[in-house]
């Protein structure tokens, strides 16, 4: 059952952000089109536009991939180039869907979509099984911290609804996800084209008694942004702006993460290391008793110290590290390959600083899932590199804090975003011995 477009689920159900991942042509966009269609989330004019675009291209019936493949070049080529965001509400839940491209050339856009996802929907062509790009996407999603994977064994109609084909996808995806440290995996046998097990249970899969795709999404855990490091005494406030008050005094504006800030809290201003105490926490509407994670606030301190944009105010109990040189997991997006000596800019929290690659330490082999020694990271590689930065950065391991643990790499000349960085080495499960 579903609500009409724009209708809202019951209050209290947590928003779920999900990203579709997997190889090109395995049916990600068709799945999302089908999901929107069968939950009656498409407006009449949108459905008519998709039908007319399908007719114009000689498609037999309606190509539901056109619901999200909205760019001219995407429809010409029948592929997804960049992420499309769609918004869905059922009586049980509200969803933000990032429909990501599968093509290897657009892996950077898939990483964009997956970086804010609570859950990844891994779409696999059941007639083929997991491809190299399927594995690459799963690796990227896992290093980005996606902890829940919903595997869609798609095109089951083309296998003759073969339970064994479903079993192969399920086993391969499960082995991969477990090795990558993903917390939960479940697999649904689906035909996105025909709609089986997307919203309505299929009569073609009597051997499957699990949920439909929609059912699984409605029950999925949210809150990927709550990480191991969240909790009392772990609050961080990257300073976005310094506000000077008429008549004297300053307050510091930014978004809280990692924990809760309250008036009276002992804090340390980093990288300088000055200690102080919070005297007030405010928003536009007035003072607050506390500010929890992801709230944008201003704070005042009881010492007159030098605090600028890019500095970080942290709870004094468990402050982050101040580093001038550190290892990070890197998803590298573009030519030329990343090598030692490369100069870049790093954007980390509210600071941008020059950086240099001291060394490339390792590369993840997406077949064996081993981190092996490497000298370069080619486009779309995942690896570990050591960075030296011009201004010390205030960091946590990415697995402890996604805000202070993440950064993007910027080309000095073109200003293009050429890579994504996560402080620390990737956390992989130990390989089974033998």
């Amino acid at each position: 059952m579903s609500l009409p477009p724009g209708a809202q689920p019951a209050p209290g159900s947590a928003l779920l952000r999900l990203a579709t991942i997997g190889s090109v042509d395995d049916g990600k966009s068709t799945l999302i089109g089908r999901l929107l269609h069968d939950t009656k989330q498409l407006f009449e004019d949108q459905l008519e536009a998709v039908a007319s675009a399908s007719r114009r291209r000689g498609v037999d019936g309606v190509d539901l991939a056109f619901v999200t493949d909205g760019l001219r070049a995407e429809r010409e080529q029948g592929i997804t180039i960049d992420v499309a965001y769609r918004y869905v509400s059922t009586p049980r839940r509200k969803f933000v869907i990032a429909d990501c491209p599968g093509h290897v050339q657009y892996t950077r856009n898939m990483a964009t979509g997956a970086s804010t996802a609570d859950l990844a929907v891994l779409v696999v062509d059941a007639t083929v099984g997991l491809r190299e790009q399927t594995r690459r996407h799963t690796c990227i999603a896992a290093v980005l911290g996606v902890r829940h994977l919903l595997v869609v064994a798609n095109k089951m109609d083309l296998t003759g609804w073969d339970r064994a084909a479903y079993g192969v996808v399920d086993a391969e995806a499960r082995a991969l996800a477990t090795r990558l440290g993903v917390d939960s995996v479940s697999t649904v046998p689906v035909s996105a084209l025909l709609g089986d097990n997307v919203v309505e249970p299929s009569a073609n899969t009597p051997w499957y008694d699990g949920p439909t795709v929609l059912g699984a999404l409605e029950d999925a855990p949210a809150g990927a942004w709550a990480t191991a490091g969240d909790g009392e005494g772990n609050a961080r406030l990257p300073v976005q702006w310094v506000i000077r008050h008429p008549g004297g005094g300053r307050s510091y504006a930014g978004m809280v993460n990692g924990g809760t800030l309250r008036p009276g809290d002992e804090v340390v201003v980093l990288p300088g290391g000055q200690r102080s105490r919070i005297t007030s926490v405010e928003t536009f509407d007035g003072p607050l008793e506390e500010a929890s994670s992801s709230l944008s606030v201003t704070v005042r301190l009881d010492h007159d110290i030098d605090v600028s944009r890019g500095d970080l105010i942290a709870s004094a109990d468990h402050p982050p590290q101040v580093e001038r040189e550190f290892d990070a997991t890197v998803c590298w997006f573009t030519d030329p390959a990343l090598t030692a000596g490369r100069r870049l800019r790093v954007k980390h929290t509210t600071r941008v600083t020059p950086a240099q690659v001291r060394s490339v330490e390792a590369r993840l082999d997406i077949s064996s899932l081993e981190l092996g020694p490497a000298e370069v990271l080619e486009p779309n590689d995942i690896g570990v590199a050591r960075f030296v930065v011009g201004t010390p950065l205030v960091v946590d391991h990415y697995h402890r804090n996604r805000v202070t643990g993440s950064f993007v790499l910027i080309d000095e000349l073109t200003n293009a975003t050429v890579g994504a960085g996560m402080v620390g080495a990737p956390v992989l499960a130990v390989a089974p011995s033998g």
């Binding site: 609500l3 009409p4 477009p5 724009g6 209708a7 809202q8 407006f43 009449e44 004019d45 949108q46 536009a49 007319s52 675009a53 114009r56 999200t68 909205g70 760019l71 001219r72 070049a73 429809r75 180039i81 960049d82 992420v83 499309a84 965001y85 769609r86 918004y87 933000v96 950077r108 856009n109 990483a111 964009t112 970086s115 804010t116 980005l144 997006f333 800019r345 954007k347 980390h348 941008v352 996604r402 805000v403 993440s406 950064f407 993007v408 910027i410 200003n415 293009a416 975003t417 994504a420």
Partner: protein, 241 residues
């Protein structure tokens, strides 16, 4: 900054001026008429939509004032090309959007470095839906121009849309002006913004109406999106907001 096509709804200008006075800020008006008078864009003729022309005026104004970034209210749920838009979106020295080559935008790290002549568009409401906007309006008690609520006005039906009769929209041969109770779901150039039949006179009534709408926000009301399948994408490539 207001990019003024010259085809405005009175209620919108009144709201604009009241709002600016309350904020005590200076308003930059970039005039499409001035661009036409200066010969920088061709005159499409009286009554013709100036929707597409405003991209040239916008880009001129950005260059004149040296703006690094323009913040707009566009949302991803409005249109299939806007669904592909970044929150902080890069424009080259020609003001072009290149949807095949957008900067990756990971986490909430918005990187805003540009070279001289380039600029950014910022869309902080990207992930809001039409309903989210209305619920926010209700929660924060935000005053709105009256045309967002049901009212009586003379309209003329043209290409399946209800256009408000105005100095630029005059019933032609075979067309007749009728009085109707309508409201606007989006507001742009008066020659290409259609009204919807509606009895929703309060925020609560609008929310109830939006929640069961069967036609998208722009689908029933924007002639500018109907030129072709990729009308929005084509305009955005040229610098449109």
């Amino acid at each position: 900054m207001h990019v003024d096509t010259g085809h405005n709804f009175d209620e919108v200008l009144e709201y604009r001026d009241k709002r600016m006075a309350a904020l005590g800020e200076d308003l930059v008006v970039a005039s499409v008429q001035a661009s036409i008078d200066g010969g920088r864009v061709p005159d499409p003729g009286p009554g013709a939509s100036r929707n597409r022309l405003q991209s040239a005026t916008l880009l001129e104004a950005i260059a004149t004032h040296g703006f690094d970034a323009c913040i707009g209210g566009a949302r991803r749920d409005e249109d299939k090309a806007r669904a592909k838009e970044r929150i902080l979106s890069f424009r080259d020295t020609f003001g072009q959007w290149d949807p095949r080559n957008q900067r990756p935008e990971l986490w909430h790290l918005y990187h805003g470095r540009v070279r001289p002549g380039e600029h950014l568009r910022a869309f902080p409401l990207s992930d809001w839906t039409e309903l989210d906007v209305w619920q926010y309006v209700r929660r924060e008690h935000i005053a709105l121009p009256s045309i967002y609520f049901a009212h009586r006005r003379p309209v003329v039906e043209r290409d399946g849309m209800l256009l408000a009769v105005s100095p630029w929209v005059v019933p032609g041969p075979g067309e007749a002006a009728t009085e109707a109770t309508v409201r606007f779901r989006t507001v742009g150039d008066a020659t290409c913004t259609g009204a919807v039949r509606s009895g929703a006179r309060t925020v609560d009534e609008v929310i109830a109406e939006v929640a069961v709408a069967r036609v998208s926000e722009r689908g029933a009301t924007r002639a500018d999106d109907r030129f072709s399948e990729s009308a929005m994408e084509d305009r955005k490539r040229e610098g449109y907001f």
